[in-house]
Amino acid sequence: MLQYAFQRILLALAIVFVAISALYTIMITLPGDPTTVLLGPRATPEIRAEFRANMGLDDPVLMQIGNFWTRVLAGDLGTDFNRNRPVAEAVFNALPHTMALVFGAIFWSASLGILLGAFSADNRNSWLDRISGILSVGFIAAPSFVVALYSLLIFSVTLRWFPTIGAGEPGDLGSRLYHLVLPSFAIGLAWVGYVARIVRASMLETLGENYIRTARAFGLPRRVVIYNYALRVAILPAVQVLGVGIGGMLSSAVFAEIVFSRPGIGALIYDSVSGRNYPVVMGSMLVAIGFFVTCALIADLVNAALDPRHRVKS
């Protein structure tokens, strides 16, 4: 297990390095002079020249990438020239909000998806199973921004149950969670469908296993056999999918943070890409990719721990 974990960690670091280096190259070769975009029309040529020099934009691409990694290894993500603050401050201020959003979405998708999938499998081929199937596919098909807007219209504007914007009062966990409900639901709903379908298929396979038949033969209650024995094994593929799905949830976080006006990495990336604010883009991307790779790694390791066949195959 230790060797497996070591291999996975090395692979994760390599992924982060390659992804960020490639992104950096793409970013700085994109058309769009950051001095024009960032400084606006009033900036004089002298200000622009100094700005370019400060950002190192006149250096060759490879040197810029090298400088970036040198700074990162020294713990410096650079400076947000637009707002004169360290990129790390902006990124690490935004990160907890995005993490909360993603984990909230995982909570919705895991809790509702597993229940729906298990329920479907338990009632396979019944009309309840069919309704559950339609719902699951409907959830997958519904674009997250549509879910977000309708959630806002129903739960915020009409019912006034939840706030439309913001991340809640700092230091007030209740307020933070309250502001998290709708955005995390909007992101998580599509994954409810995926998880439900995966859990259902996996459950049906598991329910055909010998040990389940044995448990039934021992006279254990049906509910116990399904939810205590079969479901434990059947959720393993869902864990893997949710681990990888964090990438998709991070992408959805961009729109959720904009629609719900929440601070976060997604909003930061959106803002900085259109403004060609390279240091912030790269700092945010580094953290976002690092977060994604870490989650995928954890999902891998959890899977390997729960199912020894997985690490043996690998």
């Binding site: 994109l30 058309p31 769009g32 002079d33 001095t35 024009t36 975009v37 400084l39 606006g40 029309p41 009033r42 900036a43 004089t44 002298e46 200000i47 622009r48 100094e50 700005f51 637009n82 707002r83 004169n84 603050r85 902006a90 201020n93 935004a94 807007l149 806002l152 219209l153 915020s156 504007v157 019912l159 006034r160 149950w161 939840f162 706030p163 439309t164 914007i165 913001g166 991340a167 700092p170 254990l220 209650p221 116990v224 205590n228 024995y229 904009i258 629609v259 719900f260 006006s261 929440r262 601070p263 976060g264 909003a267 930061l268 959106y270 803002d271 890409v273 259109s274 403004g275 060609r276």
Partner: protein, 525 residues
């Protein structure tokens, strides 16, 4: 064993407890969030996050939104329908010669946090620092020919200019560059305001907290020397998306927001309960620009044909939802230099366009149109594409994201600027015509003058109008400059657009004539 495990997790709840819980949840659900809103709190939407507290780094209205609440100036814009200014820190201010302005400060105007009284030294420090090269002030051009402030007493001074600069009264003093900051506090902070909250403020509100990427939390400034602000707390909330802002207003989470042109008709016919909407002519200017230096358009008849084939009323209807009026130039109504009409009527004349192309010996013309990826401009492009074909012109639309688009005409970003053909753009504006014409002088080619329009008379008039203090003469000069632009065949003016504001009827908002909020003057109804 498993059954026992299950039992340990079981939470014993009686039926009565479940019923009580359900009732409490239902009651909580029925209690509207807005009922907790405090009448002394004001939530105002900002469409982006202002840069920071230091006027050196300010770039536009977003900073002004914040600075207006926390800082003061010698003079400020008057809220209302007409562009005018009123005294703020200044007890008196007057132009004593074409290049000097004398001012006297009111007595007893205080800085917060024990920094004492506001003096002429603060005014000098605040304005002079924009002229220091090392400070890299982004708004230095707003000060024009300003050179320095001479302090003549603790509360008096003289503003000096190298040569007369008419916009000093309309752009420099009542806007960003005129913001007065505390010399002692800023010097103690190292010469620049980089702290989490400003070290000293003078406006009706002070900053309590800046939640990065989310909001500024302001509260009433107890040291404010003017009439106390009406609200105990003001939140400037960053809501990027117009639709999200509209929903937030309907849900009661913001009290004041601008809304998109597409929502105006619906909200006017059916406003949300407890809300009102006002629509103001904006200062922006949208136009279709043609690169007059492109060899494809070397023949003036070709340029004129294209301009005649653009039907502005159709664009107003489709892209601006029929709420905006066609513009007559780059200078909005109410400002010096506004033209009563264009040289070419807003309605397209396809027969004339076709005839001009025939005269130029062109059967079919293919043009590329570069646009920004926003709904208004992409719709405008599509309308143009559909209509301009009637004159025998095929339009190829290229849509760009903002970073890429705004460097298309910039010489330092490659060679693309030379090959530009048609573009649709919108520029922001301040309430002085100088700010509009500044981007179209010859020296702006390769920078912001994407039409590569170069006219010696235009350049001369722009320079002369800057120092012209006679409003009638100035008006005439700017009108002539717009005529020259249009005569070049490089410009089809579209509209200034509108600013629509949606707000709670529990507040009395204050806005500039172009609809931009002056939060410092907001009151409770």
């Amino acid at each position: 064993m498993n059954t026992r495990k299950s039992d340990t997790l079981h939470i014993p709840l009686s039926r009565r407890q479940i019923l009580a819980g359900a009732t409490a949840l239902s009651a909580a659900a029925l209690f509207p969030v807005a009922a907790w809103a405090d009448g002394s709190r004001l939530n105002v939407r900002a469409y982006l996050e202002p840069d920071d507290y230091d006027p050196l780094d300010a770039s536009g209205f977003l900073e002004e939104l914040l600075y207006g609440c926390i800082y003061r100036k010698l003079i400020q814009y008057v809220p209302g329908e007409e562009w005018a200014w009123q005294l703020d820190l200044a007890e008196s201010i007057e132009q004593t010669s074409p290049t000097t302005i004398a001012f006297t400060l009111k007595q007893g105007q205080m800085w917060s946090d024990g920094f004492g009284e506001i003096t002429a030294e603060d005014v000098k420090f605040s304005m002079d620092r924009h002229m220091v090269e090392e400070n890299n002030s982004r708004i230095k051009p707003d000060l024009g020919t300003f050179t320095h402030v001479e302090v003549t007493g603790s509360h008096s001074g003289i503003i000096h200019m190298e040569r007369p600069f008419a916009p000093i009264w309309t752009i420099a003093l009542p806007y960003l560059a005129g913001t007065v900051i505390c010399k002692a506090a800023v010097e103690a902070a190292g010469g620049k305001i980089t702290t989490a909250v400003p070290p000293a403020v003078s406006g009706p509100y002070r900053v309590v907290e800046h939640r990065l990427g989310e909001r500024w939390v302001l509260e009433r400034n107890p040291d404010f020397s003017g009439e106390a602000a009406d609200f105990e707390r003001v939140d400037l909330i960053v809501v990027v998306d117009d639709s999200a802002a509209e929903i937030a207003k309907e849900a009661g989470d913001v009290d004041f927001t601008s809304v998109g042109a597409g929502s105006v008709a619906r909200l006017r016919d059916n406003p949300p309960a407890g809300a009102r909407m006002t629509v103001h002519p904006a200062l922006f200017y949208h136009w279709v620009g043609l690169n007059v230096q492109n060899p494809k358009f070397a023949d003036i008849r070709v340029r004129q044909a294209i301009m005649h084939a653009i039907d502005v009323p159709s664009i107003m209807q489709a892209a601006f939802f029929d709420v905006a009026e066609p513009s007559t130039g780059i200078i909005a109504p109410g400002l010096i230099g506004h033209r009563p009409q264009t040289l070419i009527a807003p309605q397209a004349d396809f027969a004339r366009a076709r005839a001009l192309l025939d005269e130029a010996g062109i059967d079919r013309l293919q043009i590329n149109l570069d646009v920004l990826n926003n709904v208004i401009h992409t719709t405008t492009a599509q309308v143009m594409q559909a209509m301009i074909a009637q004159a025998g012109i095929d339009l190829q639309i290229s849509v760009h994201e903002s970073g890429s688009f705004w460097s298309l005409g910039v010489a330092s970003d490659g060679e693309r600027w030379r090959d530009l053909e048609l573009t649709i753009k919108r520029f922001s504006m301040t309430p002085d015509p100088y700010y509009a014409t500044a981007w179209f002088v010859s020296e702006q080619i390769g920078d912001w003058n994407w039409e590569q329009f170069s006219n010696a008379e235009f350049d001369r008039l722009h320079d002369e109008a800057l120092s012209e203090t006679d409003p009638a003469r100035r008006d005439e000069m700017y009108r002539r400059m717009q005529d020259l632009m249009e005569e070049s065949g490089g410009y089809r003016f579209l509209t200034h657009g509108v600013t629509a504001n949606l707000f709670a009827d529990s507040i009395v908002p204050a806005t500039r004539p172009d609809g931009q909020p002056l939060v410092q003057f907001f009151r409770r109804a």
